[in-house]
Each structure stands twice: as structure tokens, then as C-alpha cells.
Amino acid sequence: MIEFSDVSYVYGKHTPFERVAVNNISFKIEDGLVTGIIGHTGSGKSTVAQMMNALIAPTSGKVLLNGADINSSRTESYKTRFKVGLVFQYPEYQLFEETVEKDIAYGPSNMGLDDNGIKERVEMAAEFVGLSKQVLKSSPFELSGGQKRRVAIAGVIAMQPEVLVLDEPAAGLDPRGRSEILGRLTKYRKTSGTSLVLISHSMEDVAEYSDRIIAMNDGRILCSGTPAQVFSHHEELKNSGLALPQITNIMLKVKEKCEKQGINTDFLDSSVFTVEDAYNALLPILRTSDGKGDSYVK
């Protein structure tokens, strides 16, 4: 479990460009869950991600992994980088090896595993992200953008981290590519027990795939909790430059329009955020409206 305890981070401290990126925040990333982090550009979410695996150390406060301060010594920080895997935005720009296989093997070989161990890790990681054995022998630079992205993610999965932190893993992919990569990651979470931290601008993706959401604004936590709890803070989210999932927007507008006509809408659950939930919430209500209500069996 990762725990942030009164963590702040200041860029350019003691210079004219001093800027507080993270302002005294505390939260926990629970084991085995998908935690989504949302926030507009400059809200501090990427700084938080970099502190999760000791890439940068907080200016004040502590980051704990399973109770131990990850910045207490250089050895501790080094160990943390294998336990907390960090996948940056557009990770495909970081591929550098001659073959896909070698690129994925880079992390595990730095962990001091033997050749067989490395091979096993590479095959396991490639399978999780859906890369065929044939692709392993080719150059990463011959692949399509979506495939490159998967190679980069496999390189981090191959280290078998306890926590996998991904910054915008689906950015720039088409709808099928998005749902495939996010689907594979959640499946990986289920089979391996790895916790996932998903940083994204897409409210729809975060709403669909997260168990917990942390919304950030101006270096602080605006609200956190289950997707339903977080997306019920409509006004705060909008005011801090975040959107609501499209479906939540529809439900809110329906409520507003009904209330304008004096219709009580307590029966309508506006905290839904997926098409499936909205469909299930609306269908019985709309069925009764064309006289078929009695025949509707839940």
C-alpha cells in the first residue's frame, strides 16, 4: 500500500520561479484496487505520480510503501522503483532497444534475474498486453503506435511491480485501442493482484475502470472516494476545470429539466456514469411512460 502523509512538493524552491505543485496532501492507495487520479493540467497529478516511485522526493512529508519511507535512503528508493512501476505519458517515445524482446527485458535484467527468469518475465508481460511471439523479434520502431504503447507497458509489467502507475495510458488511441488497453490492464490487475493507479483526462475512462478516484485541484485533493461519490461533486469538479462523464451530464440535465416543470425527480439516480447504468436506471421509468409499466418485471 502506498501512503502519502502530509506531502508537499515545491518546484524551484528559493528561486523567483518557486511554485507549489503539491500542497500538503494525505491519501492512501489501497491494495488490489484501481485508483483513478483526475485533475486539469497543472493540478499536480503528474508530480504525485513521480513521487510514488521516488523519482522525486517530497519537499516535506512522507511517502510510505507498505509502511516504509521510500525516501529514507538511496537503497530504499532504488528498491521502490522495482516495486512501483511508472508508465509515463506517450511511453512509446522511450523505446530504445533493437528488438521488442530486448526492450521488455531491460527492466527485469536490471533486477539481476538469470536468463531464464528474464525470458519468463518477458513472455508473461508480452502475453498480458497482447503481443504475439512473432512481434518479439521485430524492431520496436517498425510497430504501429498502439503496439509500441503495449511494448512500453510490457516493459514495466515485466518487473512485476506491486503497484503499476500509468499516466494517460490510452491517450491518442482510437476507441477500440483504448478499451483494449484498459481492459487488458484491469484483467492484469485481477490475475496478478497488482494495484493500478490510472491518471487520465478522460472522465469516461476513469469512471468506468476505477474503484476509487482522487480528484486534484491546485495541488490539493478536491474530493476522493468511489466514482459515484466523486462524480456527485458536480459543481466543484466543473469549477476546477474538470468535466463530468457524458452520461452523468445527461442524467443531471434530465433532472434539471424535469424539476423546472415541477416534476419530483427523487426516483432518478443522477450519480450514474456509464451507459449501462443509465440504461438500467432510465428503462423502467420510460417503460411506464408508454403504458407498458405493468408488464415490466425487474
Binding site: 497543472g42 488511441l173 457524458q246 452520461i247 432510465l282 421509468i285
Partner: protein, 290 residues
């Protein structure tokens, strides 16, 4: 129809000998002047290649693209070296990554880059730059450092840089993909304004179906061909076909079409946006309560 872009037998292959697989294959289409067209398609469907062919960043393997330029007062051929400068004055392009297209360190200098290169007199440049920055809402930022802006602001500077050239058509190649929701909204609002206020033809390449829903016309690219072409309402009716191409429909459309399929026939299948969906659903609930 007053067209601005016309493609005839447009074919492009990334292999030099032209015998390899075709990224774009034998396309014929025209883009109407002053229209807003969205091109959607999965990664590798050829949509970005089509965009790059339209403004002369790439040259077709065979076939032609004609630009009906008012500024040049004649029809230009994109593959003609004598026409290419006029083509680039007529058709501008905004790319995906905001960090890849700013050339100067100060906002107003970046916006002035193109008109300076075009030899516009300096007093006119001042006017053009100020107008362009006002159009994208960044006039107050004219003296700021470009590299300290947010992604959305950088894209708006890039758009201002193109507006300062007074283009007749602007192509956006996934220009909102790297932005946060606020940045995306800002850029989409400016795109709509460019068309509505200034009559600039807009072509938007996007992975976001709700952005495509704002266009007058949606073209769906698949394996180098255009497989669907029509109004958003017509195109998003073809839910299954779109899914088979790795695409989807906007969530509002998905919800409406599922409710329609479940027997709520008062809800049309091709609702496009959240406002429309909410209106129809609310009206139906109101009807029921009376």
C-alpha cells in the same frame, strides 16, 4: 457546389516503389467551402495521411488534389511545385502535439512567424497578430513565454499562428488528443467559431466521437478508403458498422439507441449530444407524469 478541396483518384503508399500496401486508395471526394467536416477512423485507417495529402505535407503516389483558392484567384494543384506556396497559404494545419509546432519563445512572435515569412508589411502584421490572438482568447498572453503555457493554450497559439495567415481552410489532426477537458473545450469552441464567424472551412481528424458529432459532415476512413460519408445523424446510425471498424458512437447516441432498441420508440436512435438526449428523455418523463 462551391468546393475548396477536390480529390481525384487519390492514392498514397509509404513504400517508395508504390507497389506495397496502399495507405490511401483511389479516393474521390470534395469538401465544400465553409463547411465543417470530421474524419474519423481507427489508428492506421489512413485518416491522418489524407489530411497530410490535402495540405501538401505528403505528395500522392497517384491521383490529384485540387485547391480552389480565392486568395490565389485560381485552382491550385497540390502536387505542383509552383503552386505549393499558395496551397500552404490557403490550407493550414494544426497537429496533435502542442510542443511540436511552436517556433518562437514569445507568444506574439510565434503568431507573427507565418505572416513575416509571407512578406506582409509590419504594420499589417501587428494587426493580424492582435486579431488572431483575440480570436483565440490569448491577447492578454501575447508577451508570455510559449513554453510555460498549458497544452490547450499552446494549441490556441498554434491556431492563432494559422489564423494570422488568413487561411481559407484549416485542418486539425487530432489537435485535442493531448489536452485536458478544459483545453479540449476551448479548442473545440474556437474551431466552431472559425467556421461560424469567419467562414473558414474546417476539417477535423479526431478519435472523439462527441467532437465529430459537432460537424456538418462525418467521413469514416477504413483501410485507406472512405466507407461512410454523411451527416453525423446518418453516420452514427450505423453503430454496428462503426464498431466493426474499431470506432464507437457518442455515449449519448449509445444510450438513446439502446433505449430505442428496448422498445422506447419515442427516443430516436440518432441523438447526437447530451443536451438533445436530456431534452428528449425529460420530455418523455414529463408526458408520463401528467
Amino acid at each position: 457546389m462551391d468546393y475548396i478541396i477536390k480529390a481525384q483518384g487519390l492514392t498514397f503508399s509509404y513504400d517508395d516503389d508504390g507497389n506495397g500496401s496502399k495507405t490511401v486508395e483511389n479516393l474521390d471526394f470534395t469538401i465544400e467551402r465553409g463547411s465543417f467536416t470530421a474524419i474519423i477512423g481507427h489508428n492506421g485507417s489512413g485518416k491522418s495521411t489524407i489530411a497530410k495529402l490535402m495540405c501538401g505535407v505528403l505528395e500522392p503516389t497517384s491521383g490529384e488534389i485540387f485547391i480552389n483558392s480565392k486568395g490565389a484567384g485560381r485552382t491550385l494543384r497540390v502536387s505542383d511545385d509552383n503552386d505549393i506556396f499558395d496551397v500552404r497559404k490557403t490550407v493550414g494545419m494544426v497537429f496533435q502535439n502542442p510542443d511540436n509546432q511552436l517556433v518562437a519563445t514569445v507568444v506574439e512572435e510565434d503568431v507573427a512567424f507565418a505572416p513575416e515569412n509571407m512578406g506582409v508589411p509590419s504594420n499589417e502584421i501587428r494587426q493580424k497578430v492582435d486579431d488572431a490572438l483575440r480570436a483565440v482568447g490569448l491577447y492578454e498572453y501575447r508577451l508570455h513565454d510559449t513554453h510555460k503555457l498549458s497544452g490547450g493554450q499552446k494549441q490556441r497559439v498554434a491556431i492563432a499562428g494559422i489564423l494570422a495567415m488568413s487561411p481559407e481552410c484549416v485542418i486539425f489532426d487530432e489537435s485535442t488528443a493531448m489536452l485536458d477537458p478544459r483545453g479540449r473545450d476551448d479548442v473545440m469552441r474556437i474551431i466552431c467559431e472559425m467556421r461560424n464567424k469567419y467562414g473558414i472551412t474546417v476539417i477535423l481528424i479526431t478519435h472523439y466521437m462527441n467532437e465529430a458529432a459537432l460537424a456538418d459532415r462525418v467521413m469514416v476512413a477504413e483501410a485507406g478508403k472512405i466507407i461512410l460519408d454523411g451527416t453525423p445523424k446518418d453516420v452514427f446510425l450505423q453503430k454496428e458498422l462503426l464498431k466493426s471498424c474499431g470506432l464507437e458512437v457518442p455515449q449519448a447516441t449509445e444510450l438513446a439507441s439502446r433505449l430505442h432498441a428496448a422498445g422506447i420508440s419515442d427516443i430516436p436512435q440518432n441523438v447526437l449530444d447530451t443536451e438533445e438526449a436530456a431534452q428528449i428523455i425529460a420530455a418523455l418523463i414529463a408526458k408520463n407524469t401528467k
